[in-house]
């Protein structure tokens, strides 16, 4: 009886410690990406509602320094796979919401919508741009972030990830990338 309750106590303590530690890391993420995973900083991406596998992959790529980021590298240094999976699970379950304020430029949004069709973005990212598996959600993502990342893919500066994005954006103009970012960031 004593042994059993002691065992239970040890288990509870272990759970409490791991939950508390996990919570600390979650709060570290929230400091930049927003308390609910929706980013208030236009240059930092929202991570709420991103597909779980997409978040896992990106955390691994930052840890391996294949996707290079001065901000992310120290945060994920030495992070073990089980914690990567736990964090991905947490943020993938939070509801995504659009963070762009201000009035949309209708002509620019229309041009973005048209280019998204022509470039077939909706095949992999799905018709509502909510993403699937390793492919990120684009709907409601921060506009400045989308624009910067698409340019980096096109210019071969975001290496490591699947090269299919470099191929998809091959030869797409700056103006079209701006239109795509404007359109996608305002999708529900």
């Amino acid at each position: 009886m004593y042994a059993a309750s002691k065992g239970r106590w040890a288990l509870l303590t272990a759970l409490f410690i791991s939950a508390g530690w996990g919570q600390e890391r979650v709060q570290l993420c929230a400091a930049c990406h927003g308390a609910d995973g929706n980013s208030v900083n236009p240059r930092i991406p929202s991570i709420a509602g991103q597909p779980k596998l997409f978040i896992e992959n990106q955390l691994v790529l930052f840890r391996e320094e294949v996707r290079r980021s001065e901000q992310m590298a120290p945060v994920v240094k030495g992070m073990k796979d089980p914690e990567v999976i736990r964090l991905a699970e947490h943020f993938s379950k939070l509801p995504a919401k659009g963070m762009e304020s201000g009035v949309a430029d209708k002509a620019l949004a229309r041009r973005g919508s048209q280019r998204a069709k022509e470039l077939r973005c909706g095949i992999c990212h799905l018709a509502d741009f909510s993403g699937q598996n390793q492919i990120p959600r684009l709907a409601g993502q921060r506009e400045a972030y989308l624009e910067a990342e698409m340019r980096a893919y096109r210019d071969g500066k975001r290496a490591g990830g699947d090269t299919i994005m470099a191929a998809a954006l091959y030869g797409v103009s700056d103006a079209d990338i701006r239109a795509l970012a404007h359109f996608l960031s305002r999708r529900p």
Binding site: L61, E65, N133, A159, T163
Partner: protein, 374 residues
């Protein structure tokens, strides 16, 4: 196509524990046995064996690592040789040295099998790598002519390549000198080997996407002489003319494949079998891993096939050899994706699984009844 939800399958970059790899689901012909040989190799794909076969080097794509697996008889240990590279998929071993090809970098590690601290020489400048990344991850191998064979894929699904540096296979001297383009019109080859007798190069090539479920097929090609054109982007495997990039007489002068490897099947690693362990009928036949389709409504591939060339080498027959990665039926329900095949000194086969980051070993034991008769 506009409404299609087909997308490349997600790779997995976290470790899959050995206990979560359902190796008992794998099926091989009677007398053969398949077992889990190594795991904990996220993204591991092409394999290069050290001279004595005690070490296996594996390249990866997105995770950017090269692994070394050491065979200690009853168990295997794994370490990372180099990381932080851009898709270091190509690995080759010769004269005690390991060559690693990333999309934008070439490294050579002398004496690596005996010295884990061996530092690489950077040979990038010698190999004249083009700048576009897509389809430019590599499979590499040394031929019987001691040259290093390196493919350069088309940087697109379908296009006229931006320069004449793409859609081809080249060979070089080991130090990067003597560059020679030996085959053109090759969309994306990531597997090849040489026939043990004729010494001809046989290579797989992936057909384009978004031209329907049934084509174009992946190819198995034979290089009878340098300079052949294999058709990309105008003419595909089954003599099908391209739907987007058109040219008059699109298939004129194009060398057609020896065998069709299945539409969108992702035919990858090729290995001619020369070991003594398997029955004699497998001598000089090929084992080819088909990683499995994504750009197709119903799954195709997800297996290793045995491919038997005809006497004259002009045709070849496929039969499925290793299956069980994909649960039956029409939907995509797979747990593993076989990518490359290697032969061990004892004649057993190794098969790498890029999805779960593992290596399986396939061995053969003569059935007892048959043994008695002899």
């Amino acid at each position: 196509m506009g409404d299609s939800k087909l997308a490349p399958h997600a790779g997995k970059m976290t470790e899959t524990p050995a206990g979560e790899i359902p190796v008992s689901k794998l099926k091989v012909p009677a007398g053969f046995k398949v077992e889990l040989w190594a795991s904990g190799l996220p993204g591991g794909r092409a394999m290069a064996l050290s001279g004595d076969g005690k070490k296996v080097y594996l390249g990866t794509r997105v995770i950017g690592r090269v692994y070394e697996v050491t065979d200690a008889g009853d168990k295997r240990t794994v370490r990372v040789v180099v990381d932080k590279l851009t898709q270091p998929a190509g690995v080759a071993f010769k004269d005690g040295a390991l060559w690693v090809f990333a999309i934008d970098k070439v490294l050579k590690f002398d004496g690596i099998a005996g010295n884990p601290n061996a530092q690489p020489q950077d040979l990038t400048a010698k190999f004249d790598l083009p700048k576009e990344q897509h389809h430019n991850w590599k499979y590499i191998a040394f031929g019987p002519d001691n040259k290093l064979y390196v493919p350069f894929g088309a940087p697109c699904n379908i296009c006229e390549p931006p320069t004449n540096e793409y859609a081809q296979i080249r060979r070089y001297n080991a130090d990067g000198s003597g560059k020679e383009v030996i085959a053109t019109g090759v969309r994306n080859s990531v597997g090849f080997d040489w026939h043990p007798k004729t010494k001809e190069l046989w290579f797989t090539d992936h057909g384009r996407d978004w031209m329907g479920d049934d084509g174009p097929q992946d190819e198995l090609n034979r290089v009878t002489k340098p300079g052949l054109n294999f058709g990309f982007p105008y003419c595909h495997a089954d003599g099908k003319v391209d739907a987007d990039i058109k040219k008059k007489d699109a298939c004129k002068g194009v060398t057609r494949p020896v065998a069709l490897m299945g539409p969108h099947a992702a035919a990858m690693g090729v290995k001619f079998y020369t070991g003594k362990m398997f029955p004699a009928e497998y001598q000089n036949t090929m084992f080819i891993a088909r990683k499995g389709s994504w750009n197709r409504t119903k799954p195709m591939g997800f297996d290793v096939v045995n491919v038997r060339p005809s006497e004259d080498g002009k045709t070849a027959k496929l039969s499925r050899f290793l299956t069980g990665f994909q649960e039956g039926g029409e939907g995509y329900k797979f747990w593993g994706r076989p990518a490359y095949v290697a032969q061990m000194p004892d004649g057993a086969l190794l098969v790498s699984d890029e999805q779960v980051g593992a290596i399986y070993r396939i061995s053969y034991q003569k059935p007892k009844a048959a043994a008695k008769k002899q």
